[in-house]
C-alpha cells in the first residue's frame, strides 16, 4: 500500500516522462535517416563506456579522461570565480557607494556571451587552456556577485539595529549576522554559476581543442558520428545534474 502510493506519486511521473521522451525520439529517428534511434545510441554508449579510461595517443583518449579534464577546468575557473566573486558580492552589497560605482559595469558585462571573452583570454594568457578557464571564470562570477550582494541588501534592518545596540564589531557582524543570513542567496548564486560554467566549458573546448568533452564532441562532429554526439549530450546533461544535486545537498546543510 505504502509502496503503491510512493510509486504513484514519485516514481511513475518521471518514468512516464522518460518513456514519452524515448517514443518521441524514436518517431523522430524513424522519419530522419541521419538521426540514430535510442537502441543504436545505447549500443554505441555501451561500447564507449566499457573502456572509459584508455589512453591510446594524446589525441585519442577514453571518454572518462575527457570528462575529468573538463571537470578540472570547470573546477579551477569556478573556484577562482567563487574566491573573488563572493567577497566582492559582500562588499558591493554592504557599501552603497561601491554598489553604485560598479553596478553599471556589472550590468553591461553580465549579458555578454561567454565565448566573446575567449579571444581576450587568448590574447592575455597566450595559451588555450588558461583562456578556457578564464571563460569559465568570467561567466560564472556574475551570478555569484549579484546574488551575494542581493542577499546582503535583503538583510532585515532590525538585525543591523540589534547589532548596533549590542555594539558588535564589523567582524562579529559578518560572522554572526551577515554570513548566515546571506548563505541561501549565495548558494543560489553558486548553483547558477556552476550551471553556467558547465554549459560554457563545452563550447569553449570546442574552440580551443585539447582533451575535454567539448573537443570530443567537436571531433565526433568532424566525423559526423551522430550517435556519439547524442551520447555526449546525455553525458553533459547528467554531469550537470549531478553537480547541481551536489550543491543542493550542500545548500540544505547550511540552510536554517
Amino acid at each position: 500500500m505504502k509502496f503503491r502510493r510512493y510509486f504513484g506519486e514519485h516514481l511513475f511521473p518521471p518514468m512516464l516522462g522518460a518513456a514519452l521522451f524515448l517514443v518521441v525520439w524514436m518517431i523522430l529517428a524513424q522519419s530522419s535517416e541521419a538521426l540514430p534511434g535510442p537502441m543504436k545510441t545505447l549500443d554505441s554508449a555501451i561500447a564507449l563506456f566499457s573502456d572509459p579510461f584508455y589512453q591510446k595517443t594524446p589525441n585519442d583518449q577514453g571518454i572518462g579522461w575527457n570528462i575529468l579534464n573538463s571537470l578540472g577546468r570547470v573546477g579551477v575557473g569556478f573556484g577562482l570565480a567563487a574566491l573573488i566573486g563572493i567577497p566582492l558580492g559582500f562588499i558591493v552589497g554592504r557599501i552603497q557607494f561601491i554598489d553604485k560605482m560598479t553596478s553599471p559595469i556589472i550590468s553591461m558585462l553580465r549579458p555578454v556571451s561567454p565565448l566573446a571573452w575567449l579571444p581576450i583570454g587568448l590574447l592575455v594568457f597566450k595559451a588555450a587552456n588558461p583562456a578556457a578557464i578564464w571563460v569559465i571564470f568570467i561567466s560564472s562570477i556574475w551570478p555569484m556577485i549579484i546574488n551575494t550582494a542581493m542577499g546582503v541588501r535583503q538583510l532585515p534592518q532590525d538585525y543591523m539595529n540589534v547589532a548596533r545596540v549590542l555594539n558588535l564589531s564589523e567582524w562579529k557582524i559578518f560572522t554572526k549576522i551577515l554570513f548566515p543570513a546571506v548563505m541561501p542567496y549565495m548558494l543560489t548564486g553558486i548553483r547558477l554559476a556552476v550551471g553556467t560554467a558547465w554549459l560554457v566549458i563545452v563550447a569553449a573546448e570546442m574552440l580551443t581543442g585539447g582533451v575535454g568533452i567539448g573537443f570530443w564532441v567537436w571531433d565526433e562532429w568532424n566525423n559526423l558520428n551522430v550517435e556519439h554526439i547524442i551520447i555526449a549530450i546525455f553525458v553533459v546533461g547528467i554531469v550537470g545534474l549531478l553537480l547541481e544535486m551536489l550543491l543542493v545537498r550542500i545548500a540544505k546543510r547550511f540552510s536554517y
Binding site: A34, K56, T57, P58, N59, D60, L122, K126, A127, A128, M206, L207, T208, G209, G210, F215, W218, D219, E220, W221, N222, N223, L224
Partner: protein
C-alpha cells in the same frame, strides 16, 4: 646576431662532405662496401645527432587539422621517422585553422600542418595578429575540390559555366564556403568562380565555416557550394548532399597546398630542430608517395587519433581513384601528392608569392607588398636545402617555377605586381 649562429649553406655542405668522406674511409677500412648501402640512414642520423648540430629540442609539438593531407606528419610520427633524426613529433589535433594560428603565435605549438595562404596572411597581419612566420617546407600538392550542392544539380548545374548562367538568371543569395579568409581554399574557390566570370565578393556570399558545418548546411539546403580538402568532398558524395564540380588540380596542376609552418622565432632559434623535422617529414613523404603504401597510409590516418573518418571515404581519392558524384569515374594522374621526387616539398618562392598576388587581387592587401622580399623572408630555402641534401632529396635549381592555371594565365613569379593587376574579375 642570431644569423652568425645559423650555418650558412656553404659551410654546411663542406661539413657534410667531410662527414661523407669520413664515412667512406670507415667503409674502406671495414672493407665492406655492401654495409654502406645497408646502414646509411641510421648511421648518418647518429652522426648528425652526435655532432654540434643535434636538435635543440627533443620533443616537437606539431599541430594538425584532421584532413587527408596531414598524412606526412602522422606517418613521420607513427612510423618513427622522427626518432631517426633525434626528435619526437608530438601531434596535437586542432579544432580550427584559427586555433592553429593562435597556438602557433602563442608558442603552444612549435610547428603545424597549415594552409599556405594562412602563413602569409599572418606574416602581413591580415587574417590575424601580425607575426613573423616561416614556411619550412611544402607538405602537399593537389587533392582539394569544389563541391556543389545536390539542389544545384537538380537545376541542371554541373559546371561553372552553368552556375554562372543560374546566378545571372535567378537572383537570390548564393552561399559559398571556405575554411579561412586568406587560406588556400578561399583562393581556389575565388579563382574558380572568377574564371567563370562570377565575382566571389559581389555576386555571391562567401563565408568561413568549419568543414562539418559545410556538409551539415548543404544537407539542409543552406549552402550552394564549398571548397575544402579531402576527405570532405568525397564525404559530401558519400552522404549524397553534393557532387565534385572541380578538383583543385584542375584549377592549377600540382598547386601548393599545405605547408609545414612555424613562427620565424622558432626557425631562427631552433635551426637544427627545424632541419630534423624537415628530414623526418621528407622521409615520410617519400613513403606515402610509393603507391603501394597508400592503402596502409589510409588505414593509419583514418584512425580516431587522426582524421577520425571511415576508411572508405579516405582511401579512394588518396589512391587517385576519383568519382564526381554525377556518375563519372576516373583515375586522376594529378592526385594528392606528398613527394613527387621532392618537387612537392621545395618551398618555391613563386608559390608563396602567388598567394600574395591573390590577397592583393581580392583587396585583402591594400597596397602591393614587396612580393619577393616577403617570400624570401618566409620560405626557409636554406634550411630546406640543407635538410634535403642530408636525406638525398633532389632540390630544383630555380627558386621559381612556371605554372599554367585553368584560365590559361601563366605564373612564373617574375612580375607579381603586373600579374596581380592583370585579372579582370577582382575586388572593386
Amino acid at each position: 646576431m642570431e644569423a652568425s649562429k645559423i650555418i650558412t649553406s656553404e659551410n654546411f655542405v663542406s661539413e657534410q662532405n667531410s662527414r661523407r668522406d669520413f664515412m667512406k674511409q670507415t667503409g674502406a677500412i671495414l672493407g665492406a662496401a655492401g654495409i654502406m648501402s645497408m646502414v646509411p640512414m641510421g648511421t648518418r642520423a647518429a652522426a648528425w645527432a652526435a655532432g654540434s648540430d643535434a636538435p635543440e629540442l627533443k620533443e616537437v609539438k606539431v599541430g594538425f587539422i584532421p584532413l587527408t593531407d596531414c598524412a606526412s606528419l602522422v606517418i613521420a610520427s607513427v612510423m618513427k621517422f622522427d626518432e631517426k633524426y633525434g626528435i619526437k613529433i608530438v601531434l596535437s589535433k586542432e579544432a580550427s585553422w584559427a586555433g592553429v594560428r593562435d597556438k602557433l603565435a602563442n608558442g603552444e605549438l612549435h610547428a603545424a600542418h597549415v594552409l599556405y595562404g594562412l602563413v602569409y596572411g599572418v606574416h602581413l597581419g591580415i587574417g590575424g595578429q601580425k607575426k613573423d612566420m616561416s614556411v619550412l617546407m611544402t607538405l602537399s600538392n593537389n587533392g582539394q575540390a569544389i563541391t556543389l550542392s545536390s539542389q544545384l544539380k537538380d537545376k541542371g548545374v554541373t559546371t561553372g559555366g552553368a552556375l554562372k548562367k543560374l546566378v545571372d538568371a535567378e537572383k537570390r543569395d548564393y552561399t559559398f564556403a571556405q575554411t579561412f579568409p586568406t587560406g588556400t581554399h578561399a583562393m581556389w574557390l575565388y579563382y574558380w568562380l572568377a574564371s567563370h566570370d562570377i565575382n566571389p565578393l559581389s555576386d555571391v556570399k562567401t563565408i568561413t565555416v568549419p568543414p562539418p558545418q559545410m556538409v551539415a548546411n548543404m544537407r539542409v539546403g543552406n549552402m550552394d557550394g564549398f571548397c575544402v580538402g579531402e576527405p570532405w568532398n568525397n564525404r559530401a558524395i558519400y552522404d549524397k548532399v553534393g557532387f565534385t564540380a572541380a578538383t583543385t588540380q584542375d584549377i592549377w596542376k600540382d598547386h601548393p597546398e599545405k605547408v609545414l609552418g612555424c613562427t620565424a622565432e622558432f626557425s631562427q632559434k631552433y635551426p637544427n630542430t627545424s632541419r630534423a623535422l624537415i628530414m623526418a617529414v621528407l622521409e615520410a613523404s617519400k613513403y606515402i608517395d610509393e603507391m603501394s603504401n597508400r592503402r596502409k597510409v589510409a588505414e593509419i590516418i583514418a584512425d580516431k587519433s587522426y582524421v577520425n573518418c571511415p576508411l572508405e571515404v579516405i582511401d579512394q581519392r588518396l589512391e587517385g581513384k576519383y568519382e564526381d558524384g554525377l556518375g563519372k569515374k576516373w583515375n586522376d594522374p594529378n592526385y594528392m601528392k606528398f613527394y613527387n621526387d621532392g618537387a612537392v616539398n621545395f618551398p618555391y618562392l613563386s608559390d608563396g608569392m602567388w598567394f600574395l598576388t591573390q590577397h592583393k587581387r581580392w583587396g585583402m592587401l591594400k597596397e602591393d607588398p614587396d612580393y619577393l622580399a616577403v617570400a624570401k623572408k618566409i620560405n626557409q630555402i636554406d634550411l630546406y636545402k640543407q635538410a634535403a641534401s642530408q636525406v638525398k632529396v633532389p632540390v630544383p635549381k630555380d627558386v621559381m617555377r612556371t605554372s599554367k592555371l585553368m584560365d590559361g594565365t601563366v605564373w612564373d613569379g617574375k612580375d607579381p605586381k603586373k600579374y596581380a593587376a592583370s585579372f579582370k574579375v577582382r575586388a572593386s
